[in-house]
């Protein structure tokens, strides 16, 4: 779960905070206690928390936290991301998907779960998960493509290096 939070926030310190929040919430959640797949439930909660954090960060920050600039270039496992902004753009795109689309895309492409495993966790069919993932990635393509173009026109470089 911590790894998932790191992947979705690109910040180990934030993931640390969110993991605490996640465990606290799960410990009080009736749904979690009744869930057939507790790990699946926890994964979904982690995904919600991560994108809530992205949303909050965007909406509520009056003063931009310069520590994010530092964290953006922190060494360590996140250094595998050559251009962090591109990945943040992908995450921003995932955020804009429907809740189901977001969950399916993250679980399949980021957590590398099979369609069948996801379907089991979500109480649906592998066929539907596959459809949702496919649609989600196409929408992601539209969104990321749009923002890349806009970044390019502003002088940014959104190309994969």
């Amino acid at each position: 779960l911590y790894a998932l939070l790191v992947r979705l926030t690109l910040r180990e310190d934030v993931a640390d905070d969110l993991l605490q929040e996640l465990v606290l919430r799960l410990s009080r959640s009736e749904g979690f206690q009744r869930a057939e797949s507790p790990l699946g439930y926890a994964r979904r909660a982690a995904i919600h928390l991560s994108f809530d954090w992205h949303r909050k960060r965007r909406h509520e920050r009056n003063i931009e936290d310069p520590s994010e600039e530092q964290a953006a270039h922190a060494a360590g496992p996140l250094a595998v991301l050559i251009d962090r902004e591109d990945y943040e753009r992908v995450l921003a795109g995932i955020e804009r998907l429907s809740p189901l689309g977001r969950t399916c895309v993250v679980l399949h492409y980021v957590e590398q779960l099979s369609y069948a495993e996801i379907a089991k966790q979500l109480g649906t069919t592998p066929h539907k998960v596959r459809g949702v993932c496919h649609k989600g990635v196409r929408r992601l393509q539209q969104f990321v493509g749009r923002t890349s173009n806009s970044a390019k026109t502003k002088g940014g470089n959104a190309d994969e290096r």
Binding site: Q20, E64, Q70, G76, E111, A119, G123
Partner: protein, 657 residues
């Protein structure tokens, strides 16, 4: 269908995201933090539950890190220049001349980059420094302009077109105060200097010296060293290198090259006005107000785990401001109250009230701030020594120092984190200690009484009415309250009285309140007040919607009714409905509320909303092959809503082999 490049790129990026693995140490730390918050560690008693400000919050209070790279570079160059002026040994006269020449110049231009494990390509900067304390540093992503005399700094993030104006910019010592190169050159220290063999740079012969940089953080336990290359013709430095340590304790070699003096420049490049097409955010405090006269407001006592002077953890912003006066400024949607003129900032949640107290000093913050002068009853405050802190609080639970230069001791039982530089306290962070608060009921009561009457032991009266507006008795309401108060119950069940009323007791502070309302014949409802939402009123009316009947029969393969089959029903949920204060719940019959088939294999459910709804069933029986997932048998047997509405929906279950 062929995959286009955009799609390939996205899939590649998603794949790269999946490959990220946090380092073991970070994961261990995260798990340890979870353990601390929830269960305590091992056989030891549970550690107190801290309402801990996030690390990023604390870090943002201490340093503007992107600028810190420049600060580090500048501090290094200055330290070396200072050393030159005071050095003995070979070349002494030449260096004195160098300093004299430098002092006569009107501008210094150089490029800087950081090399080594802690260095990043993004740190490359083009820097111009003027004798009057102005500095401009720029790379492809960031431009910073700072004016030490005007106490103002402008930070431009070029790609996002956002500008930050920092009012009351006041660089800390020892490193950042040295940003004024020319001023620093006048402050001479006696540091070690060693002449190295001459070297050639770009075909030019240079004199090389190695110096110790006592003004910079140590690398491990050693004083960082630097090298300087001086052009014997101009008697001015042309390249400087300094090895220092970044915030992750990784060695960074700051390289200053292309050093030139008195290069022509346009004075407009130091204009501190943000560009018109940038969105501007302003932080810091330009002017300090007069200090209040009361000593408990200017030098409030630090009461570990409880509060500061007259304020207490859990206190709401309005109450804090009524006791302390208006803050000098705010940050983060009024969640950070800045009392820089008194040396502290407060982290306040809209619902949970005061969460963190941060007593600070100018030593490590870029914002102009007066050193905090309050102390604990043991006499610990800013400037106290490591030894004094040890005597007052004993052995620390953890040392969270970011490097050998910065020690950060955590005392969990006191809810304290104390930061040291050169073994002197420069910052005290304080969090609420839950267990300690429970042990001090009087103080807790005091704090509660100081809250607005609305929040102290308040209640929420619920009225439940039917579609005709008349009260509905016997309605079951389950509450879900998310509160950090350990005494607050998470879930409570209520039943409405003959007047359709019930009263929900609320803790003094909470983050989320959710109500699940259920009554036979009515559609179950979900009512909620989420984080950062408005406060619940003193009374709230829930209006029920009459449900419609659905039903069906469960049979075996031979057409015999199955008795005791469990039928659960879920309704497709519209996420947009959650934005409403009250909406239908998706779980019409689930868990304890599931329906069971009778002797004729029949089941009914009377709480389904009218109209076109999408229902999903899950049917199970211990002796029959049951639905593993929602909607399995239903889809397989093509059950329709119309059949369900007519109560003629038949499901066939196969006996387990």
């Amino acid at each position: 269908m062929p995959m286009n490049d955009d799609l390939k790129t996205i899939l590649r990026r998603l794949n790269r995201l999946s490959q990220i693995e946090p380092n073991d140490e970070a994961a261990r730390r995260a798990l340890a933090n979870v353990r601390e918050r929830l269960v305590g560690s091992g056989a030891e008693p549970a550690r107190p539950l801290l309402s801990k400000p996030t690390r990023s919050f604390l870090r943002s209070r201490t340093m503007y890190p992107r600028v810190a790279a420049v600060v580090l570079a500048c501090a290094a160059i200055i330290a070396i220049l200072v050393v030159l002026n005071s050095s003995g040994g070979p070349g002494q006269l030449a260096f004195a001349q160098v300093i004299e020449k430098v002092e006569k110049t009107q501008s210094l231009t150089f490029r800087t980059k950081n090399e080594g494990p802690g260095g990043h390509a993004e740190d490359e900067m083009q820097i111009i420094v003027l004798p009057d304390g102005k500095m401009r540093a720029e790379n492809s992503k960031i431009l910073s302009i700072q004016d030490l005399k005007a106490h103002r700094m402008l930070l431009l993030f070029k790609e996002r077109k956002t500008a930050q104006v920092i009012e009351g910019f006041s660089p800390p010592s020892p490193a950042a105060a040295d940003l004024n190169v020319y001023e620093m050159i006048r402050n001479i220290r006696k540091d070690a200097v060693e002449r190295l063999p001459d070297e050639e740079i770009d075909g030019r012969k240079t004199i090389v010296f190695r110096v110790e940089l006592k003004g910079l953080p140590k690398v491990g336990n050693e004083t960082p060293r630097g090298k300087i290359w001086v052009d014997p013709q101009t008697e001015l430095p042309i390249r400087i290198e300094a090895v220092a340590e970044d915030e992750n304790e990784k060695p960074v070699t700051s390289v200053m090259y292309d050093i030139e003096f008195d290069q022509p420049f346009d004075p407009a490049i130091f204009d501190l006005a943000p560009p018109k097409d940038y969105s501007v955010q302003t932080g810091g405090v330009a002017n300090f107000p007069d200090l209040p006269e009361k000593a408990d407001l200017t030098a409030p006592e630090i009461i570990p785990g409880v509060g500061l002077g007259p304020i207490r953890f859990g206190m709401l912003r309005e109450k804090i401001e009524s006791l302390l006066g208006k803050p000098d400024g705010y940050e983060g949607n009024k969640t950070n109250l800045l009392y820089y003129s008194r040396g502290f900032t407060l982290s306040v949640s809209k619902r949970s009230g005061l969460k963190g107290i941060h007593c600070t000093s100018q030593t490590l913050t870029m914002n102009r701030v007066r050193d905090f002068v309050g102390k604990t009853k043991e006499g610990i405050g800013i400037g106290s020594s490591l030894e004094e802190v040890g005597k007052a609080f004993g052995k620390a639970d953890r040392d969270e120092g970011v490097n050998s230069f910065n020690k950060r001791l955590a005392y969990d039982k006191y809810g304290l984190e104390i930061q040291f530089v050169d073994d002197k306290v420069i910052m005290i962070d304080m969090n609420e200690i839950r267990s300690q608060v429970e042990e001090s009921p009087n103080e807790r009561k005091d704090a509660a009484e100081q809250q607005s009457p609305k929040m102290a032991g308040r209640t929420l009266k619920i009225n439940v009415v039917g579609p005709d507006g008349k009260p509905v008795p016997g309605v079951k309401i389950r509450d879900g309250i998310w509160s950090k108060e350990m005494t607050a119950k998470t879930n409570n069940d209520h039943v409405c009285d003959a007047q359709g009323q019930t009263v929900i007791e609320l803790p003094s502070t909470f983050d989320i309140l959710r109500l699940f309302t259920r009554c036979d014949g009515y559609v179950p409802l979900f009512t909620h007040w989420e984080q950062l939402d408005e406060d619940p009123p003193d009374a709230y009316t829930i209006k029920l919607t009459t449900g419609t009947l659905i039903g069906g029969v469960v049979k075996d393969e031979e057409g015999r009714p199955i008795v005791g089959a469990k039928v659960e029903v879920m309704m497709a949920h519209d996420p947009a409905a959650n934005r409403k204060r009250t909406c239908f719940t998706a779980w019409l019959a689930e868990g304890d509320d599931a329906r069971t088939t009778d002797v004729e294999g029949r089941w009914t459910l009377d709480n389904v909303p009218a109209g076109d709804v999408k229902l999903t069933l899950k049917v199970s029986h211990p002796d029959y092959q049951s639905d593993a997932d929602w909607g399995g048998l239903q889809k397989e047997q093509k059950m329709t809503l119309e059949e369900l509405r007519k109560q003629k929906a038949t499901l066939i279950m196969q006996r387990k082999k």
